[in-house]
Point group: C3
Chain length 256, copies 3
């Protein structure tokens, strides 16, 4: 049973997700569909890339990941597919995939040709590509290599020898605060030194925890989470509202 994941900004109330699922199963009816999220903020391909790249390692090789974000049908839109790290990806050529993989080459990305039935809807094109991949057909025959692969820049931390300034990129359901800093980058700059992590006018956090249980209930902590990102949290409470930390704000780490 092959898995198809869906990441969309369609929302959960309307019938749009159902149309997409029914279309995909019309193309090949033994897929198992897993929703990654349909609550991506409208048109927010950065958030979509963050969600999909974090969720992807939990999926088996051979999984097909469909992204429909900022994907309203326009006649000029291009839809692409490619294979990477044993997974397949289908979605719009709007930059979303450049935010997940920084080494994609145009010649390995294919523009999905319209299906034989002439239906040019996004759902029809995605269903066509998923069925094509599901049947094990070679990607190179689904369409021409992309002429212009759209890329977007990922916001990176600002790094000097003694300081990292990073950005809050996500507040999750538990109001944990996720920062765009990965462990290896942190450790490289840290170089076994002490550090002070400043967030708002609070006392800095000066050590890394391993998990929530390392501090008392109600205390703030910082650790690298399961997805590899720096996370500021409060054990059993809501860091974002308690510490007044919002998406897109900066945090600063000084090493000494």
């Amino acid at each position: 049973m092959q898995i198809v994941s869906l990441t969309t900004d369609y929302g959960s109330k309307d019938y749009y997700v159902a149309e997409l699922k029914a279309s995909i199963l019309n193309g090949k009816n033994d897929f198992y569909i897993i929703d990654i999220s349909h609550e991506i903020d409208r048109f927010d391909i950065v958030q979509a890339a963050f969600f999909l790249s974090n969720a992807m390692p939990s999926f088996n090789e051979g999984s097909i990941h469909v992204v429909a974000v900022n994907c309203n049908y326009k006649r000029k839109s291009e839809y692409i597919c490619f294979e990477k790290q044993g997974h397949y990806f289908i979605g719009p050529n709007n930059g979303i995939f450049s935010l997940i993989f920084n080494d994609l080459k145009s010649e390995e990305i294919f523009v999905i040709s319209p299906p034989d039935n002439g239906n040019l809807s996004v759902n029809s094109i995605f269903s066509h590509a998923a069925a094509y991949i599901g049947h094990g057909l070679p990607l190179a025959e689904i369409g021409e290599p992309v002429q212009h692969f759209n890329t977007k820049l990922v916001i990176q931390p600002v790094v000097t020898s003694n300081q990292i300034r990073a950005t809050i990129i996500h507040i999750d359901h538990f109001e944990n605060v996720v920062v765009n800093l990965k462990k290896d980058q942190f450790e490289k700059v840290r170089n076994d030194r002490k550090f002070e992590l400043y967030y708002k006018p609070n006392d800095p956090i000066t050590f890394l925890s391993k998990d929530y249980g390392d501090v008392a209930i109600g205390d703030a902590l910082a650790f690298f989470n399961a997805s590899g990102y720096l996370e500021i949290a409060i054990n059993m409470d809501k860091a974002s509202s308690m510490l007044n930390l919002m998406k897109n704000e900066m945090i600063q780490i000084n090493f000494y």
Copy 2:
């Protein structure tokens, strides 16, 4: 693999949808269930009919569509099923289906007899009917033809030779504004004339777009959407709040 779609007003938080799904799979365990929506406004069969009739064309023939809206169990309630356009429908006899099909005949609609296990819950009755259909048994044997098929009136646009007054029937997740006017009705009245579409005290829209990309980002447009309805939208923004257009309000189109 046969698909069962669900359209309910049960909400996504409670365990009610899970009970319904488990019941349906108890009846026949190789169905594939697709959620159309569980966020139908409480008791709102008009919205349910709008969602299901729009989503239905994406489903394969043979699909079974279960509707549980305004469907709290009452001993006097009747649950019905029928086949139409190659699809099967199961739900309450409360008018919902008359809003989807205007040519249903009582003799082709059957009241679902209670299952042999005597369980009279809505879930049990729906599970019984879905399994029955899934096994390919004739609908005429699931129960007696309905004596009184409940019907509701669909709100229609008010049409004169030079004017259409139509109603906003849905605001979607993207805050696109959907109007109860279909393309053929519009074109018939238009008869190749010019038009002015008035919505609130704004400058009228005087041409139809093909898709969102036909106007600049931030500009309003009108077009007939994938479901065939007139839609007022803003390219990459929220028409409902930006233009202050709410459900049930009127828009007016003058032809000249």
Copy 3:
């Protein structure tokens, strides 16, 4: 096809549920997953127990119920599994299961040993246990019997010979008000007497209805719902906000 149900406090927006599902299907890919709820209030194992115990009777024997509530990975956390009433349960040893079954014995509950791949994430442990059960292997070999089974107390009604004081434990999507009183306990105290059910400064309800249709639209009623609990509702309206009844408040029933 074996069913795995999921009850979590992960929310529906993030990618956490997708990770859990993908992990479970990685372990054994022919499960059919049914979401009970991902909107359990953060860390609220009482609500999770309420949802799962109510939904469970709709599931076939052999179903596997995974609970991930108040389950953030901590190195000291223990994850357990057991079989009860023909169903299988997997989740944290945090008291949730003592709220569903009051007669669980430590010797029939097993601490899930880490999987061979050494992955200690919650998802990996749950996936390992589900696959293990799905393959029909004996629970006793999945790990050692639990040393200390965590238990929590269920809030019970306060009962005297002529009075029951009970607590509102849930407000559902329809704003029906659910009280922690089951029919048999009520009838035992009632003993064929009359009663007055007081809720806020309203006129008491003095009779039990069978279903919503027993009173006029807009009128309040009380009945024992499909899950066996006392429910205070308004026919076709929202009891919680109309009657100003909130979770954790008391209602009082006098018998005479």
